[in-house]
Symmetry: C2
């Protein structure tokens, strides 16, 4: 603990990040396993005295993933007065012998939840002081999480599901070039249900956020599917205005 | 100040509420004028030690408007480390002679922004300790606001504009029964632009959130417009799933 200094963090405010990646047709979440209690937890942290909340979230994300310049969105605040009363991280601190910080960690924390959608391939998962593993877990593999982290994860999922109905999603989650079946699979994974192939294609094309390339997926058969890329100008416009922004 | 006790509020966390009402075809915001500096500010407050953030926001809203059970949404966090460095409320505190609290008010506050859409007619605007006026201001009347409150207001507006593209809006803002021109005017006011009458009607009806009543607006001419009400079941479904939730 000697290389950590909590004295320049703001009291009462913590942040937790739900970092989603898409790999082998599964939606995955980056989790850490605590050293002593072995509980799984979302990556999180605190705000420095001279930092904005966004800078703190970017710092946490970079520390855990090595990624920079990632779209991070604050989506909810978790403020049950009891939520940090039982904090397994305290057990880890006691085991580590880091006595002076226990009082600081025992205070009430209001957690500001962020989610990020990142490129699975580019992430270099890195544990923090409290954890000895940091790894991707597929949604269906995740059972209990530390404190209220399961609730934070579920709320993040609910948020991106609603987001699918009014904003594009996929940039950063898919490769630069992707097929229509790959994009559909991403939507199906987030929504947790199968979609009709023709309806999906008609609807997603109507949003004008895709460029169809004159190129088919490599290594495929004669009828390999065409590749698409996002039209970033329209994609960013839709992020700002929503799909049906044309009132 | 004797009847106020700040010792049971959490350090560093404040909340600010952008309360929108619709009256005489204008979108209005509830503001307070500070007693000494005469600056205008958003209603706000702090979290008690035993309170959730939502309970704190509901308490603030109730104190300023006398309204209960209002849809309040946390939409952004304002965390510039400099934002509370110049705080006119401190001047008010000094003028009031409330010395012991000045230090507490001088700390850094991260503000959690909420917006609410309320029924203008039902609000009973009530100043707080720092203010001697609490009143509705039409958007176009509002010039500068205290601290970063203008930024908070603008971000709230941006948020409800985006919300118009994927969720219904209007319940709580309009009377229980309203005409299509009244609903259109609400949308136009929020969006800050004129809309085509026929396109608006076609689009809003396609969302199935309205019940057309067999009743025309009272006091009108022979061709007075029909009245509508929200179909609350579909309205609430659309709030949860978005308009195009049918992926």
């Amino acid at each position: 603990m000697s290389d950590f200094n909590f004295s320049n963090f703001l009291d009462h405010i913590s942040l937790d990040c739900v970092i989603f990646g898409f790999h082998e047709n599964q939606l995955k979440v980056l989790l850490m396993q605590m050293k002593y209690t072995k509980e799984w937890a979302l990556p999180g942290g605190f705000m420095k005295e001279d930092e904005t909340l966004e800078a703190a979230a970017e710092r946490v994300l970079k520390e855990r993933t090595s990624l920079d310049n990632i779209f991070l969105k604050q989506f909810h605040v978790f403020s049950d007065p009891q939520r940090s009363k039982v904090n397994p991280a305290l057990e880890d601190l006691k085991e580590s012998g880091a006595e002076p910080n226990i009082e600081w960690f025992s205070q009430r924390f209001v957690s500001l939840g962020f989610y990020a959608l990142v490129d699975y391939e580019k992430v270099n998962p890195t544990p923090d002081f409290f954890s000895d593993h940091c790894e991707w877990k597929a949604l269906e593999e995740i059972e209990s999480l530390m404190m209220d982290h399961r609730k934070i994860l579920d709320k993040a999922l609910e948020t991106i599901r609603l987001q699918l109905s009014y904003q594009p999603i996929g940039y950063n989650l898919l490769s630069e070039k992707f097929t229509m079946p790959e994009l559909q699979k991403l939507y199906e994974t987030i929504l947790g249900k199968k979609l009709d192939r023709r309806n999906f294609q008609r609807k997603i094309l109507s949003y004008k956020i895709l460029n169809k390339l004159d190129e088919r997926k490599k290594g495929g058969a004669y009828k390999a599917p065409y590749l698409y890329e996002f039209n970033l100008e329209n994609y960013n416009k839709a992020l700002k205005e929503g799909f049906s922004g044309s009132w």
